[in-house]
């Protein structure tokens, strides 16, 4: 195609060298390098750090944040935010335990003191219920954001209080304990010698990554994040997409809550408080732009892992918790700074 106006000669990105350079300078690669360097340094400080056991345990511990961070990436890419994930997490945890303990199937009723119940609620059903409630909670966010046009930040600030409050109110701040053993398998057990959580992280990450990067749905999220009007004028069902991702966020919060309850074997209404900030930190560290339009699942995972490994590695190196969060804060800022600098230099955006 010699006569095409594509001025191939003038085009840096077409040459393989250019492509390679572009790849090497991509957000994810930079972050990955930063992470590797950090881990490398930490490894020199403690020989317990890069042991299989430790790594597996860390995988277990970061499950909740990782799972919630996936939908958060979607949401932030569309230029939204969900501050209520922590509260939904708590609500789902409570609903899991509460429905299991207090709901009676025949006669259908909410148990009260000395109430005779023939058929109790099966735990399986409670789990499903809890996750459904998570989805519902997410949908409520989504519905108001889309239909009533409440800005995401405000909406989820309000539901942050609302959902947490419901968790407290419904549970009357009592915690539910004593689940059957099979229930703990998920949170405390292994599969092929690897903690179940890690499998879940892998599965959901792959799904989300493909969903975001390879499908029309994913592409439309980027479009929405960059120019919502433009997206709507291009026939993209902006509202529906948004509803979906907020519901997805609620669902993952629910699943994370389930895993968490199964790991710590009790439910409390204050579970997951502050989760939102940890998740957002991981996502932005992962190179997702808080202004929307930019970001990737790979980046987010790197972000999650980096923070987790930092906390763990520093602790193993004998650094105490207060000093650790100082370092985490510094790394967060530094990483984003370096990345932004390189991105601008390479003229990517």
């Amino acid at each position: 195609m010699a006569q095409t106006p594509l001025m191939l000669d003038k085009n840096p990105e077409q040459s393989t060298g250019g492509r390679l350079r572009k790849l090497l300078l991509s957000q994810e690669v930079i972050l990955f390098i930063i992470m590797v360097v950090a881990i490398g340094l930490l490894a020199t400080r403690s020989d317990r750090f890069l042991t299989q056991d430790n790594l597996l345990t860390q995988g277990r511990l970061m499950a909740e944040i990782a799972l919630v961070a996936l939908p958060m990436t979607f949401i932030i890419i569309t230029g939204g935010i969900d501050l209520s994930v922590g509260a939904i997490f708590g609500l789902c945890a409570i609903m899991l335990g509460w429905t299991w303990e207090n709901i009676c199937l025949s006669p259908i009723a909410i148990k009260s003191r000395g109430f005779e119940c023939a058929v109790n609620m099966p735990l399986e059903v409670s789990i499903v219920l809890a996750i459904l409630i998570g989805i519902l909670a997410g949908l409520v966010n989504g519905w108001f954001i889309v239909k009533i046009k409440v800005p995401p930040l405000i909406m989820t600030l309000a539901t942050l209080a609302l959902y947490r409050g419901m968790a407290e109110g419904i549970s009357q701040s009592r915690s539910v304990r004593g689940y059957p053993d099979w229930f703990y398998q998920l949170g405390q057990g292994d599969l092929f010698g690897i903690p179940t959580q890690i499998w879940l992280i892998i599965v959901f990450s792959i799904i989300s990554a493909i969903w975001l990067s390879r499908t029309t749905f994913g592409r439309s999220l980027y479009a929405i994040g960059n120019n919502e009007t433009g997206a709507r004028f291009s026939g993209i069902a902006v509202g529906r997409q948004k509803m979906i991702i907020y519901a997805f966020s609620g669902m993952m919060a629910g699943i994370a809550a389930w895993i968490f309850v199964s790991r710590v074997s009790t439910t409390r209404s204050d579970m997951g408080s502050g989760l939102e900030l940890d998740v957002i930190a991981a996502v932005v560290l992962g190179g997702t732009s808080i202004f929307g339009g930019v970001g990737s699942i790979v980046g987010t995972l790197i972000g999650v892992v980096t923070i987790q490994m930092l906390k763990n590695g520093l602790s193993l190196a004998g650094v105490t918790g207060d000093a650790t969060i100082i370092v985490v804060g510094l790394v967060l800022i530094a990483a984003v700074l370096i990345n932004g600098f390189i991105q601008r230099r390479s003229g990517a955006r």
Partner: protein, 369 residues
């Protein structure tokens, strides 16, 4: 969604003060004897249940040898746990063959606390001291510590018994409940009406204490009336606002406020002071001396109930040492704890620090934590 749950409103159990848990209570006998003896008397009178704690699985025998301990309180950065740490260091120095470092999350967050303990298991320490953010949630990780031959001793906030070896109990819940109510009765009469400012309804210790207070009040001071319990997190301003709200709401009716945390108590005292109601509204509660000095000195608060957290930390280290040295076994009925002397063993696997301590204008300046 909201409406659904609001339908459940009446679900709030009314037979129970807000913020009290619903575990069984055993209120102590009504006044007569002195507070201290009562509590200890209790300790002895109780027929000894069997040891129900766990044990470290084939832990190396380090009797008499240096050991490395880690202390994981609920959180770091508050006066109370600064004090327990101080006590631990003191004990470590006395013993000479113990090194203990305190490390914990910066928020009282069970998830983080678990992560910290996991880290120290990986690091490989000889013993773990803990104050649990949640008795059940913390259990699995503690059990895995025991399995890996790490001794586990709790203090301040317990876990499920089998997840640790021993728990150093600062003062039995019913003891605290009793002395708080007695204080209130002493200051504002046996028909006082009072309100409570607590941290959150989910904090186990506070919930226990409130339950025990209720039980004790109901059978010893039936004429007292409980008005309300408000949550104030661990937050100064909120505690202050809540206390102020109570004062404004109940006006004359309110005779006293119970502060259930070292945050709520001083804040309530301040609210009373700033409302100019010192003497009319009593503030009774749990708090560290430093936090209360201004109010005790100004006379707005007569006395503060608390065990000595320094001693608590101190005892915890001695208990741990005793376990390692084999001098504290499931059969023991008491354990020797340095300057604290012999400590009683109660309810199976708990070491009782002693009776709650009452600070007042005379002695409060002797303490710095």
């Amino acid at each position: 969604l909201a409406t659904v749950s609001l339908g459940l409103l009446p679900a709030a159990a009314q037979d129970r003060w807000d913020g009290a848990d619903d575990l069984p209570t055993n209120p102590l006998a009504c006044p007569g004897a002195e507070v201290e003896e009562m509590a200890e008397g209790e300790g002895e009178m109780m027929e000894m249940p069997a040891y129900d704690g766990g044990a470290a699985v084939d832990a190396p025998d380090l009797a008499g040898q240096p050991i490395v301990l880690v202390d994981v309180p609920k959180l770091i950065g508050i006066g109370y746990f600064a004090a327990t740490t101080q006590g631990q260091q003191e004990a470590a120095e006395e013993l000479g063959n113990v090194t203990v470092t305190t490390d914990a999350p910066t928020d009282a967050n069970i998830d983080d606390q678990i992560a910290f303990i996991e880290n120290y298991i990986a690091q490989g320490v000889n013993g773990i001291l803990f104050a649990a953010n949640d008795p059940v949630a913390i259990a699995p990780v503690l059990r895995s510590a025991l399995e890996q031959g790490i001794h586990v001793v709790g203090y301040d906030a317990n876990s499920e018994p089998d997840a640790r070896t021993w728990f150093v109990n600062q003062a039995e819940f019913n003891g605290i409940g009793k002395s708080l109510i007695d204080q209130m009765a002493a200051e504002r009469g046996e028909d006082a009406s009072f309100a409570i400012v607590t941290s959150t309804f989910t904090t186990p210790n506070q919930a226990r204490w409130i339950a025990e207070m209720q039980a004790y009040q109901e059978n010893c001071y039936p004429d007292m009336t409980w008005l309300a319990t408000l949550e104030a997190q661990e937050d100064n301003t909120l505690s202050f606002n809540q206390a102020t709200t109570l004062i404004n709401q109940y006006g004359e009716e309110l005779d006293g406020i119970f502060g259930m945390t070292s945050v709520a108590t001083p804040a309530s005292a301040d609210a009373v002071t700033q409302a100019g109601l010192c003497g009319e509204v009593a503030v009774v509660g749990l708090a560290t001396p430093n936090a209360m000095k201004p109010y005790v000195e100004s006379g707005c608060v007569q006395s503060v109930v608390l065990w000595n957290p320094v001693d608590l930390g101190y005892a915890a280290v001695y208990v741990m040492r005793a376990i390692v040295d084999g001098t504290l076994t499931p059969e023991s009925t008491s354990v020797e704890a340095g300057r604290l002397g012999e400590l009683q063993i109660v309810n199976g696997s708990e070491v009782l620090l002693g009776a709650p301590f009452v600070y007042n204008a005379d002695n409060i300046d002797d303490f710095d934590f």
